[in-house]
């Protein structure tokens, strides 16, 4: 190999560099791999779609290592409380202790950049540029067995310069002629020549912490297949000898100071999880990657992010789509777990369209850019019931398709009853096929037959079952009434209108006065004080947004708060002098806050 072995680049500070942290083989099907880089522990796992996730090794809830968690192919599940985090975004998708709640979007693990190249997985704190360019061999190398060494990376890199090997280990004779082509404390290239045979080894050194590193070697060119194991053993022997020598040397050296992982900014705060209906924001830009007719009168859209990766979502979530004509429409995401690269929605052309569905059907084309909101969820799926009955009418199937896939993935029992005019009216038939026999199609039924069918479905009530229904208003009304007559408890029957308009929130509406900001604001039903403040540029730090952590505690100067948090104790609540503005509201018509 010539001196282009590794592209010359100025040495970057370790925090801005790429390091190999695993071999590709370290991430087999549904395994969770544990490693450390620069003193920071990492949980690394490959989703079933091949994507490699590199995350800080701590569940956000109670700090339990995620490297002991379960990789289910789409999500990583913490062993302690079963919290689930989605591949790519690392956003929390489910908190089992509160099955009826959608987790706040701020609950998102720290992720690190990742590149998979030369059979190695690369990551770093905040790496700049590209991974080391290994010239001449593309992806055709052979990854050697990674060798952990209890010695500092710089010392090991130095010793690697005297690494010697035979280009063809099955041949008898000496080590061949070895030369060091290039090297620094991150990487060393050694070339061995023996007659006409020439072989190169590129060593990359992963600094695990101050005292330990892993040497990851790459052999170029790749030997012929039947020689591979012999070559791997040859290098492993040589590396083991080098390891023993360097560990012996390191043992008598003064121990280096420990590496402190860089402190990263705390989780983002003060981001509203719910955008009020009258001042919608559309922070995401997506491109229409695919548009197709998924059924008669229903267009499917796949939306791909431009820039930042798409935020996590849960079954039942929807997005606001901002159309070029100024209209804003809500559409449910149909994606299943692990299907996180593109948001997928289904849009029915409404005969009486005021321009929303019409614009999407007629004007929007593949390649167009749309502004959308982050996903919100007013229709969260409980996964704490033994059986779930999903009832869809027409386009109301969209959130239920997402739910069916999530339940199937979690191996929970469900049935999806899909009422539609005809087979041609069934949206996303390819997903329905994958769900198999658990989808029951009810086609071409009139109102009376539909009612009878619903009656039969709801008659199968068992103690630990629940119903989710989404469809036309008449169907919802009928289902609701029948369920009540058949003895279904209210909390086991969940509704959403298929247009995904926000479910009517009948809670209080009141005024807040901000004493220090001299603002007088109205808090409408369905919107939190925190959100109203944020809308008007008044940022109160918040974290959990569930009334649990106390971050958004503010003083109350006048008025009676309607405390809904768990942070303040009863006596504190009775004093009415402080409140958590993320969840608590007002009993009095007006509150004066010291903000």
């Amino acid at each position: 190999m010539n001196d282009e072995g590794i592209a010359a680049a100025p040495m970057l500070d370790a925090a801005f560099s790429w390091f190999p942290i695993a071999s590709s083989e370290d991430l087999p099907f549904r395994h969770t791999y544990h490693t450390k880089l620069l003193g920071r522990e990492l949980a690394v796992w490959r989703a079933d779609d091949g994507y490699v996730n590199v995350w800080e090794d701590r569940c956000l809830h109670r700090g339990v290592r995620l490297s002991i968690g379960l990789n289910d192919g789409a999500e990583l599940k913490c062993q302690y409380h079963g919290w689930r985090y989605a591949s790519r975004s690392a956003g929390c998708t489910y908190i089992p202790a509160h099955p009826a709640d959608a987790p706040a979007r701020t609950i998102c693990c720290t992720t690190f950049p990742v590149v998979e190249r030369y059979g190695l997985v690369w990551s770093g704190e905040e790496p700049l540029g590209d991974v080391a360019q290994v010239a001449l061999f593309g992806d055709e190398g052979l990854t050697l067995r990674p060798v952990p060494i209890h010695a500092p990376a710089a010392l090991v890199a130095e010793r690697l310069r005297s690494y010697r090997f035979r280009p063809n280990p099955t041949a008898t004779g000496s080590s061949g002629e070895c030369t060091v082509e290039s090297g620094d404390e991150r990487a060393v290239v050694v070339t061995a020549r023996d007659g006409t045979a020439e072989m190169n080894v590129v060593f990359f050194v992963q600094p695990v912490d101050a005292r330990t590193c892993v040497v990851r070697g790459l052999l170029v060119p790749r030997p012929v297949d039947d020689a591979v194991v012999g070559v791997l053993r040859h290098h492993n022997e040589r590396m083991s000898t080098l390891r023993d020598e360097v560990e012996e040397a390191a043992a008598v050296m003064p121990p280096p100071p420990p590496m402190q992982p860089r402190v990263r900014a705390p989780a983002p705060v003060a981001e509203p999880t719910h955008t009020p209906a009258d001042t919608r924001t559309a922070p995401l830009r997506v491109v229409v990657a695919r548009k197709w007719a998924t059924a008669d009168g229903i267009a499917g859209f796949e939306l791909e992010s431009i820039g930042e990766r798409l935020p996590a979502f849960q079954p039942g979530a929807h997005i606001d789509v901002h159309l070029p004509n100024g209209l804003v429409r809500q559409y449910s995401l149909t994606n299943g777990p692990g299907d996180v690269v593109r948001y997928r929605i289904g849009v029915k052309l409404e005969p009486d369209s005021r321009g929303g569905s019409k614009a999407l059907h007629e004007s929007i084309r593949e390649g167009d850019v749309l502004a959308i909101s982050e996903p919100r969820n007013n229709f969260p799926l409980r996964r704490d019931r033994a059986t779930t009955i999903l009832i869809a009418g027409g386009i109301g199937v969209t959130p239920l398709i997402a739910m069916a896939q999530a339940l199937g993935h979690a191996q929970l029992d469900f049935r999806l009853h899909y009422f539609a005019q005809s087979p041609a009216h069934l949206a996303f038939p390819e997903v329905l096929d994958l769900l198999g026999e658990r989808v029951v199609r009810h086609l071409g039924l009139g109102p009376t037959e539909t009612g009878q069918r619903l009656q039969e479905i709801l008659a199968e009530r068992r103690p630990s079952s629940q119903v989710y229904v989404c469809g036309p208003g008449s169907m919802l009304g009928a289902t609701r009434q029948m369920a009540a007559e058949l003895g279904w408890p209210d909390d086991a029957v969940h509704f959403e209108y298929f247009k995904n308009t926000t479910v009517v929130d009948d809670s209080s509406a009141f005024d807040v006065e901000l004493a220090r900001s001299a603002l007088h604001l109205r808090v409408p039903a369905g919107t939190t004080i925190l959100e109203v403040l944020a809308e008007h540029g008044v940022i109160v730090a918040s974290s959990c947004q569930q009334g649990a952590c106390g971050t958004c505690l503010v003083s109350v100067l006048d008025g009676v708060p309607d405390h809904q948090d768990v942070y303040l104790n009863d006596a504190e609540k009775q004093r009415n002098d402080r409140m958590l503005v993320c969840v608590s509201r007002a009993k009095s018509p007006r509150l004066v806050l010291d903000v």
């Binding site: 522990e41 090794d57 701590r58 956000l60 809830h61 109670r62 700090g63 339990v64 290592r65 002991i68 062993q79 302690y80 409380h81 079963g82 908190i95 089992p96 202790a97 509160h98 099955p99 009826a100 609950i107 705390p266 989780a267 705060v269 996964r383 704490d384 019931r385 033994a386 929970l412 630990s464 974290s543 959990c544 569930q546 009334g547 649990a548 952590c549 106390g550 971050t551 768990v566 942070y567 104790n569 009863d570």
Partner: protein, 312 residues
């Protein structure tokens, strides 16, 4: 076999504690029933090496090893120098390095028909507050104690009440469906729990008794802080169970202990962070939220990471 009876000095050592809140507490050292009379044992308390034992008359003796180092297993000294205060309560030998208030009371322990026994003493590489918080937590039952204290998909933690009463944290009205509530029960049952934290490193649970609906079993978790990030966890049982053998009762509780241990040892950091935004509490954690605030308010620093501003 026991390091407590070893002839070697204790090799583990920790920085000594300077936190007056931790020093001015009673701390458990050992179940008295497990000590041979007249023999010296060694241990660490708050980083301080101690010698201790029960003398031939049955009286407890505890002293700092820096005043008199005796190999473990040697005859117990009659009056060691700088002897520390001691008491035997609930079957454990307790001592202190400071000037504590009286130990909390467990009136049930005096009821004649109760079985009072040490279910287990296990070393865990964590801080005492992390272990207490885990004990207060119901949300992990279906995941960590699957099939025993809980089972998926029944994972919801319904609301309960938390109060600070007479300087103790109490969580009442806690309920969780349990497939196998105790060694004596086989059917699943909605089990009632009351949790009490009377001491920064000790907590007590009252739960439905499968043998007598009118009474509640009492389970205590008493942590001996050997260091900030190393404890010996003692589990007291004070139960109404006319049927099970001690072995069966212990096996059940040891099984539960052994499931919690690897979770606790995989928590990062090991010391309990008291800042409310260091981790992500949810409503189900309100007893833990109250416990963290309570520790902050009492000014505890040993085994915790205090909130930056000194208050929760």
């Amino acid at each position: 076999m026991w390091s407590n009876s070893s002839t070697r000095p204790i090799v583990d050592s920790f920085e000594r504690c300077t936190d007056p809140v931790a020093l001015n507490q009673w701390h458990p050292l050992s179940a008295v029933a497990e000590l041979r009379r007249g023999v010296t044992y060694q241990t660490l308390l708050l980083g301080e090496p101690l010698g201790y034992g029960i003398d031939d008359a049955g009286e407890p003796v505890v002293w700092p090893a820096k005043a008199l180092h005796l190999p473990a297993g040697s005859p117990l000294p009659a009056t060691p120098p700088a002897g520390l205060p001691t008491q035997v309560s609930y079957g454990y030998l307790w001592t202190t390095l400071g000037d504590p208030q009286p130990l909390f009371a467990i009136p049930e322990a005096d009821e004649p028909d109760r079985r009072v026994l040490n279910a287990a003493t296990i070393g865990i590489a964590t801080s005492a507050p992390r272990a207490v918080e885990n004990f207060l937590d119901m949300g992990h039952f279906p995941f960590v104690h699957a099939g025993v204290l809980g089972a998926e998909p029944h994972t919801e933690v319904v609301d309960y009440r938390v109060d600070v009463v007479d300087g103790e944290v109490w969580a009442t009205g806690c309920r969780f469906p349990q497939p196998k509530a105790a060694p004596g029960s086989s059917a699943s049952a909605m089990t009632d729990y009351t949790y009490r934290v009377p001491h920064p490193y000790c907590t007590i649970l009252y739960k439905s008794c499968p043998f007598d609906e009118s009474r509640r079993d009492v389970i205590g978790l008493f942590l001996q802080p050997m260091g900030e990030e190393a404890v010996r966890a003692n589990m007291l049982l004070c139960v109404v169970d006319p049927i099970s053998t001690d072995t069966e009762i212990r096996r059940f509780q040891l099984g539960i202990f052994s499931q919690d241990k690897p979770i606790l040892e995989n928590q990062v950091p090991r010391r309990l962070p008291l800042s409310p935004i260091a981790e992500t509490p949810i409503r189900a954690d309100k007893s833990a939220i109250a416990y963290r605030r309570w520790l902050s308010e009492m000014g505890l620093t040993y085994g915790v990471i205090p909130a930056a501003d000194g208050a929760a």
